[in-house]
Amino acid sequence: MAVRTDTGSRDAAAEPALGLLTLFWVILARDLRVGLRRWTDASNSALFFILVVTLFPLALSPKAEQLRMIAPGVLWIAALLATLLSLQLLFRSDLEDGTLEQLLTLPYPLGWMLLAKTLAHWIITGMPVVLMAPILAITYHLPATALAVLTLSLLLGTPTLSLLGSIGAALTAGLRGAGVLLVFIVAPLMLPVLILGARATDLALGGEDPTGPLYLLGALLVLALSLAPIVAAGAIRVSAD
């Protein structure tokens, strides 16, 4: 067996091998691949979302008027619960199989790598919810404008939920049976998103202008994008210790 350990790149070791964008893509692509291979886990939150949304008309009344009235709240609460359900899986397996140790010893910014992982997690668990919401909302007799605003508000809001959730998932990754604790940590942080999302849809339903809450949802997304990965990076160092 011939052994060769190096390619002479040691002298040029001052520069990391990958640019930040390539790094982002490499991590995103790997996590998407893992997520798709583990599709039973991935489909859990989408199935849960469908279940909650279809149960309400059965338990309440099937009258169009009443359904239309509760639709924004029901759909947004279901989306929030589906996100909470999926969060435990975000960093748990990475901690257990040693992937996290590998990421922590790389010469790349940890927050950036966690952002790529969180985006992959949103694509697998959050995006199906956003795509299914307008279809399910039709059964609630929502008019077309409200459908569009609902989808847009979920598109802006669910990534924020995933980013906020990444903080809690990073804090509790090393704990056994941390499911409920995780929910209690992140749910209060998620309330503004829930309020604004449901409010935007509600305004559109009443024929009013929903741009105010939508802008605020966008602002929250930008804030979460820039701060959540940094906080999560600090938390994951503690969890991996």
Partner: protein
């Protein structure tokens, strides 16, 4: 030069090591020895920056370890108890990921063959035996292009040929100007490279 200065770490009420210092010139190896539970893995994690010591510091070429790591002046690879491989991905996919991060994706097939994993390169890692997983973790070390290797029990689960291969790889790495810290309970043959021994647990 890798150096640790007055490292102290407690786990609960047990002191794993106190005021521990070592220095390791480039091209040499540090062998951490000791019985089970003596803190070999923990010391290795402290050196890797994964665990914070109560007091003391680790430096590389005279300046702070984490700074050197984040600026890219130090490349290290850590191989712990967990192989760091995704069970759902094939061996080749797993290794290609780490090779990409180290900037040498072209070497994956070569290293797969060298570590004797050529035949199971396209099997999911969850189907590999413990020894094959250990070999895959070793392949990741070889693909890392790192100056500093931190290996925790690298010969566990390996057959005779595999154990010889670990020693050859380490000797080649050291001869090449690399540095290695190895935690092990049995002795390793590093060839002609200078070895510092550090016994924990007494």
């Amino acid at each position: 030069m890798l150096a640790g200065a007055s490292l102290t770490l407690w786990r609960g009420t047990t002191c794993l090591f106190e005021a521990l210092s070592f220095s390791l010139p480039v091209g040499s190896a540090l062998l951490i020895e000791g019985p089970n539970g003596a803190g070999k893995t923990t010391l290795l994690r402290v050196i890797a920056g994964l665990t914070q010591p109560e007091s003391g510091s680790v430096t590389w070429q005279g300046s702070d370890f984490r700074q050197q790591l984040q600026s890219g002046r130090l490349r290290l690879t850590f191989s712990g108890h967990s192989p760091g491989l995704k069970p759902e991905l094939t061996t080749r996919e797993n290794l290609r990921f780490f090779a990409q991060l180290a900037g040498q994706p072209a070497r994956v097939s070569e290293v797969l063959d060298a570590t004797g994993l050529g035949a199971c390169a396209d099997l999911d890692v969850r189907l590999l035996s413990a020894g094959q997983k250990r070999r895959a973790a070793l392949a990741r070390v070889l693909l890392s292009a790192a100056d500093l290797w931190l290996l925790d029990e690298p010969q566990t689960n390996l057959d005779t040929a595999g154990r010889r291969f670990v020693e050859q790889a380490l000797a080649a790495h050291l001869a090449d100007g690399g540095t290695a810290v190895v935690a092990a309970h049995q002795s390793l043959d590093f060839g002609s490279a200078p070895v510092t021994r550090l016994a924990l647990g007494n």
